[in-house]
């Protein structure tokens, strides 16, 4: 009641005219060249990928904090707008708002391949950059590729090739039967196609396969089926918390067929615990990599958050560093100029690994070394984080990085469409 009585005609005019003036004034403020550079961070904070998204947010905050503490990018501070991408529809709506209302210089983040696709479509319309830090599907680098989308995260083919080498060496492919569990969405389907093609090329067969709903937490029914099928290898194309549920319940049911697979995040191994974690897994980065920059990042993150970073944290931290480098080099946030810079084979990036990385100009995949991690026996772990050991970088030093993306599924990429 009080609201209505105090809100008379004059009050109304005052408020609306102030608002109208504000709207008129806004664009000039936003276009100011010396204002902060606004970055949109869009990634799942909830759902089965939420725990990974939390790492992503922490790392993005750390990256922005470090850059700002060093006087920003050419004197301009970074400002981070963080949103939960929730699902493909919401992701696209929020991306649109970041582009239209917040005028972000770029959108960074995402983990779900399904949401990454809708964000890519939105940024392509809005002519804004999108640095994908967590979605692996080959199709995003193939038939669904977009000129404004760049992939700091590895693509499925890189994992299939790296893990595949390990499985071949372990004699788990030729003439062997696999039981395959696959996350039932874009990422999993894509990975399943790649894994099956690999198995076929190398003379293995499928003993059984299941699509697992993304929010499933009970894997007991799959344990019964795996045991009945008696496979030579249980191959996982799972994602997010599914991986933790699988490990915990595989240990719970006391099954001991070898386990391996193509989709993996170290945080999910930590959540499964040393009692349950086993096997050898591909990994874009881990905290044990013995380079100066990796160890510096691990220390900065651990000092701030009390736990080491995992591969998703690395992805979002790295993407902001790469973008900062591009803004410095191109002297601005113009998307077209940054795309040209990224596509230049001379543009190299320090990935905190042994070799520098660079973008493949044909599909915008950042080519870089990857690693394989192997679980240590339960008694040998020194703490709850070092429950695995890391391999040397893959591929071997004499092999070009391009070998990792050979045999990718998901169609061919054309930016003209």
């Amino acid at each position: 009641m009080t609201l209505r009585s105090s809100f008379d005609r004059r009050g109304f005019l005052r408020t609306t005219s102030a608002a109208a003036l504000g709207t008129l004034a806004a664009p000039s403020i936003l276009r100011a060249q010396d204002g902060p550079i606004i970055l949109g961070h869009l990634t799942p904070h909830t759902g089965f990928l939420g725990p990974l998204g939390e790492y992503a947010v922490m790392a993005a905050e750390l990256a922005v904090e470090e850059i700002n503490a060093a006087d920003g990018i050419d004197g301009r501070q970074l400002q981070l707008i963080k949103e939960d991408s929730v699902n493909p529809q919401t992701a696209s709506t929020k991306a649109e708002r970041m582009i239209g209302r917040d005028k972000v210089a770029a959108i960074i983040g995402e983990i779900s391949s399904a949401s990454a696709l809708t964000i890519a479509q939105t940024v392509e319309r809005g002519k804004t950059l999108f640095l994908n830090t967590g979605a692996n599907s080959d199709a995003l680098r193939g038939a669904d590729c977009k000129r404004h989308m760049f992939h700091v995260e590895t693509q499925n083919a890189m994992y299939v090739n790296a893990e595949g080498q390990h499985l071949l060496q372990s004699g788990l492919v030729e003439g062997k039967k696999w039981y395959v569990l696959t996350a039932d969405y874009a990422f999993g389907h894509d990975l399943l196609a790649g894994a099956k093609a690999f198995l076929e090329r190398n003379g293995g067969s499928i003993a059984g396969e299941d699509l697992v709903p993304t929010d499933a937490t009970d894997f007991s029914s799959f344990m019964l089926k795996i045991r009945a099928a008696e496979p030579d290898l249980v191959a996982l194309n799972l994602a997010g918390t599914q991986i933790t549920s699988f490990f915990k319940q595989y240990g719970e049911f006391g099954l001991d067929f070898p386990v391996g697979g193509f989709g993996f995040d170290t945080a999910m191994a930590w959540a499964a615990g040393v009692q349950n974690f086993r096997g050898t897994w591909p990994c874009v980065w881990n905290h044990q990599i013995d380079t100066e920059r990796s160890q510096a990042f691990t220390k900065a993150f651990t000092d701030k958050y009390g736990m080491p970073p995992e591969n998703q944290a690395w992805g979002d931290y790295m993407a902001i560093q790469i973008l900062a480098q591009a803004i410095r080099e191109t002297k601005g946030t113009d998307a077209a100029a940054i795309i040209e810079y990224f596509e230049d084979p001379e543009a190299k990036f320090d990935m905190m690994k042994t070799r520098e990385g660079y973008f493949n100009s044909e599909n915008h995949q950042l080519l870089q070394e990857i690693y394989a991690i192997t679980a240590v026996p339960a008694g040998d772990a020194e703490n709850e984080w070092d429950i695995f050991t890391t391999s040397e970088p893959l591929p071997a030093p004499d092999q070009p990085l391009e070998t990792l993306i050979a045999d990718a599924v998901g169609g061919s990429c054309s930016f003209s469409a």
Binding site: T46, G47, G50, P51, E54, Y55, M58, D184, D210, L211, V212, P213, D215, A216, T217, D218, S220, S221, F222, M223, L224, K225, R227, A228, T241, T244, S245, K248, Q249, G251, E252, F253, G254, L255, A267, M268, W270, A271, A272, G273, V274, Q275, N276, Y305, G306, M307, E384
Partner: protein, 292 residues
Amino acid sequence: MSLFLFLSQLLNGLLDGFYYLLIAIGLSLIFSLGGIVNLAHGAFFAIGAYLAIALTPYTGFFGAVILVPLIVAGLGMIVERLLFTRFYRADPLYSLLLTFGLAMIIEQALRWSFGAAPLAYNMPELLRGQVFIGDFIYSRYRIFLITVAVLAVAALWLLLNRTAFGRIVRAGIQNPDVLGAMGISLRPYLSVVAGIGIGLAGLAGMLMAPIVPVHPAMGTEVLTAAFVVVVIGGLGSFWGVVLAAILVGVVKGFVIGINLPSWSLAAIYLLMFLVLLLRPRGLMGERILRFE
């Protein structure tokens, strides 16, 4: 797929039903007596899991199995006294908003105190591994889990049906005004019932911690399943919830048994949809004056 595997999946589904039951029964109880739709039920489930992680180093696993539900029940009674009690006579919408907010506060509080990353929680070696029942393989831990669940639910049934306490609670569910007219104050009973219901959610969280990922939002996933069970079972009916929990488990097992695992979660909602179409008050829902 062999007949044996199909039957295994049905049996596995049936056993799954018991932990749905553990979560749903408390939700149903609190709603039946006070009319509060406790959207924070899942959050208390998460508290149970985190408390298990915090207490186990001091009490051991089995100590935590006993202590965690008691502590969560205590928390539940405090929440009832401070919050629920103001909303018993109000429009159910208010209690929905209240418990929705409470769920968010609890989730964020867990994130603050334990961090956002999922945590590991080991089970005692004693309970790890498989057992054979004939040719049917099952996890030793789940047999323990189901035993505890059945004991807890049986104790609750005895309490509600064989004691003076239970008679008053049941009377309170049917008609609180008449109970008041007879000079019996329902208030202390409401507190205890909220404590029991929420304590059972804590017990469920504690028991699930070794086999599912423990993260701050873990309660949300469980809450949906619990609601489906309560809706299918029908309000105010103890056996309705039991039947519904088992039915949900069996339907899930059946769908996996006929080799459609990607439909297993959808099938549960389809079941709820069918039940609501054919029998809107649930399988064994009673007509309760207050809710008509």
